[in-house]
């Protein structure tokens, strides 16, 4: 794609976009046709509903509908900073995603590299499968696992503590530990999947490099440090950019199923997504929920732009645009 646009740059000088497009179209009309489903999809589910954002600026009532309800400007956004939660949810969303992306990728790369070093086929396949399994478990069940593990009366953790003669801990009223619980759960669930992607990338590396390094007397550690890791950089950047899309979507499943409506834990576990959900479901106010959603979109937009900008500075070839 990038190559195609760069070759077309000189052409632009003497032809307009329209004629350029026409030429392009008649040459590649089959490709355009294949794009139609995707274009339609985004048109239907992303662009057409977009005017609905207007909901955030009106006092919504059912009889008048979205576009006829009275316009009230930024009134709906006022409750965001009145409740004092804006900073908290923004901070939590950002920090969690940084933790997920950095820690998650580190663990995935480590696991992939270790896999590569394993010589026993049988052991490697088995552990890969086992690590992959959590990826298929729904977060509802994961929430249940965590509850069964941490609950005060019957939780595994407290049973162990009791049998060791220690005091049981009240995990569900202690916000501090939830940062770790949530990040760990996320890593547990996604490592298998991510490491397979990295593993595949390692498999694709030219074995001659390793042979050459071995002949030159490079140790296993040196081979990893100077061959494998640098070669994984493109994969890492691409996965990072994919993960950014995920920030927009949030990790609602994870947070909602683990924390539920336990407000005691909100200081460390409330993110924009759960906040949107609450303002809709608990207070049933369409307009303020739309306002939070709008804020989330702006926030996500700025985030992606910023990271893309940073990536472009460091690795111009990998930037999204």
């Amino acid at each position: 794609m990038r190559a195609a646009t760069s070759t077309s740059v000189p052409v632009r000088k003497n032809t307009s976009y329209v004629s350029l497009f026409r030429k392009d179209f008649s040459k590649n009309w089959m490709l355009f046709l294949m794009c139609v489903p995707a274009i339609l999809f985004f048109l239907l589910f992303s662009y057409i509903p977009m005017p609905g954002v207007y909901l955030a600026f009106v006092r919504y009532n059912y009889a008048d509908g979205i576009f006829k309800s009275p316009f009230i400007g930024l009134e709906n956004f006022r409750f965001l900073w009145l409740s004092g939660d804006l900073w908290r949810i923004t901070r939590n969303t950002l920090l969690y995603n940084i933790a997920f992306i950095l820690l998650g990728n580190t663990v995935q790369i480590t696991v992939a590299v270790l896999m590569n070093e394993l010589r026993s086929q049988w052991f490697r396949k088995t552990s890969q499968t086992l690590m992959f399994l959590p990826f298929f478990i729904s977060y509802v069940l994961v929430g249940l696992f965590v509850y069964n593990f941490l609950s005060f009366e019957y939780g595994t953790l407290n049973s162990i503590l009791r049998s060791l003669g220690r005091e049981p801990v009240e995990t569900y009223s202690n916000p501090a530990i939830w940062k770790y619980v949530i990040v760990l759960t996320h890593i547990w669930k996604n490592t298998g999947y991510g490491s397979i992607v990295y593993f595949a990338a390692i498999m694709g590396l030219d074995p001659e490099m390793y042979e050459a390094a071995e002949i030159d007397g490079a140790s296993a550690w040196q081979r990893i440090r100077y061959i494998t890791l640098p070669c994984l950089r493109p994969t890492f950047v691409i996965l990072l950019l994919f993960a950014l899309g995920g920030i927009l979507k949030g990790n609602f499943d994870l947070f909602y199923n683990l924390v539920g409506s336990n407000t005691r834990l909100y200081p460390t576990t409330d993110i924009i997504e759960t906040f949107v959900f609450r303002s809709m479901i608990v207070s049933f106010n369409f307009s303020s929920a739309a306002a939070v959603g709008f804020y989330q979109s702006i926030f996500g937009f700025l985030l992606v732009m910023t990271v893309n900008w940073i990536v472009r500075k460091i690795e111009p070839d990998y930037a999204l645009f």
Binding site: W29, A63, S151, E153, S261, N262, S279, S283, F284
Partner: protein, 546 residues
Amino acid sequence: MSKTRLLALVLIMILICGLLGACGTAGEKEPADTPAETPSTEEPAGEEKQAAEEPEPDIDISEFVEISNYVLGDPPANDMVDKMLEQLNPILKEKINAHMRVEWIEWADYLTKYNLLLASGQEIDMIHASSTWLDFWPNVQKGSFLALDDLIPKYAPKTWAEIPQEDWEQCKYQGKIYCFPENSYTQYVNHGIFYRGDWLKEFGMEPVKNFEEMGEYFKKVKEVYGPQGVIPFDAHNGMSLWEGYIISNTDYVDVRVNTGRHKVLWGKSFEEPFELVAPVFEDLFVEYAKMMKDWDEAGVWRKDVLNFEGDTRANLRAGQSASDQHHSNTYRYLRVEMDELIPGSDLQMFAWCDTRGNLVAEPITHGATAIGRTSKHPERTVMLYELFRQDEEIYRLINYGIEGVSYVINEEGKLDRPEGFDSARDGFSINWWGGRVDKFELRQAWEWEPIWDIWAEYDKIVKKPFPYGRFVLDRTPIEAELSAISEVTNQYGPMIDFGKVDDPEKEVEDYRNKLKAAGFDKVMHEIGNQLAAYKEQIGEWPPASN
């Protein structure tokens, strides 16, 4: 060749765009095309003129219609409701040329489902409504229901005449009637805690009259039955005793302004209901927070109560919990049930009003019936309501089911179970709580008889009418503040309610600061002003007749 293909492609694209465009505009126009107000105000207005000319207005029921009736609750596992409808519908066909269909709004997340249903624009004819537990006024303000002023006198004349004018006044928003109130049905729905009377006796304690005694009982249960796994008061995340604590310890009256988990604004007393107080800013709240922390530490509820959303009453029935929290109309039946399940359990109720007699009548819109703005047959729906309320045969069908199967009337004239009655197979319930009337109500052999003595006591102390019956808050100037305050109470409420705090005093302080930051003062000021205006509107208070 390729040109024709291109042309075809372009045509397809145009077609698709056209379709999308059509969808878009249709979607936009819909709300404007079917405004609730226009048909309801214009059409009957025209008919009313007619009515003025002719004494007996011609009611057109030539078209057969099916009327939907939305009730709250889980659909019954047996087919008794269908059987009842099989008997009811032929009568309805004959009288008003209509059939009724029952739709259930299930209990899990009922408020969300209810609000969502109203928001969806789905066609709703008859629907249960309540100003105390189903957001009636906010939904009226959002335009969910149809104004009934022009329909009721013509299509429900008996009910129109039967309900006194001052009761209709309590159903009005901006001068228009939006529901039928359940105005002449005796029940008390004052809350309290149910507890095991047998254990109370065993501990040699007197019946509980206040929160301190309640706490002593809980701790005793923990001490004696705790080792067997009994939880003194099995609570779930949604419960809060704060309201009960206020009613038990003060004369304050609930203004019923929804501010999330904790209602932060109360009237000073029944005599001075227009004077606002904020109990969360009083020492009372600190005492409460300390007491709840003490209870939590004593193990009154499960340690992870904040994440528990199970059925606590099931645990009471199973003998695994020593108490439960709900209102006296629930007690009326639960008591009998418990006597059967755990003979000798002698379930008692500590009602909040037991401490100092702070009992104020419920608004008559606690139970009500409204008609959806989307209804295509509002006239017929009003006629149906008239039948429910004025025709004894139909009243019994909709309230009690089929005679001889779900109930019989015994020699004392009470409702009783027929021979060989099996509640799973023959039990009838449709949760019709929006139009019961005392004139047709029968005493029930399966209710706990002494409840009527308790209620007779309540009759003596209850202060009525509900002071804010005609007060509908205009939320617009303080919408953002109310949302923010709700967010704060929803967040801090559960921790304080279940004592999940390290230092109650500090937590209460934080809570208050958050409320202030969320615009509490503005809200109090605004509602105070609106109440002052309301006071002018209703004139003398308390009413002389009381």
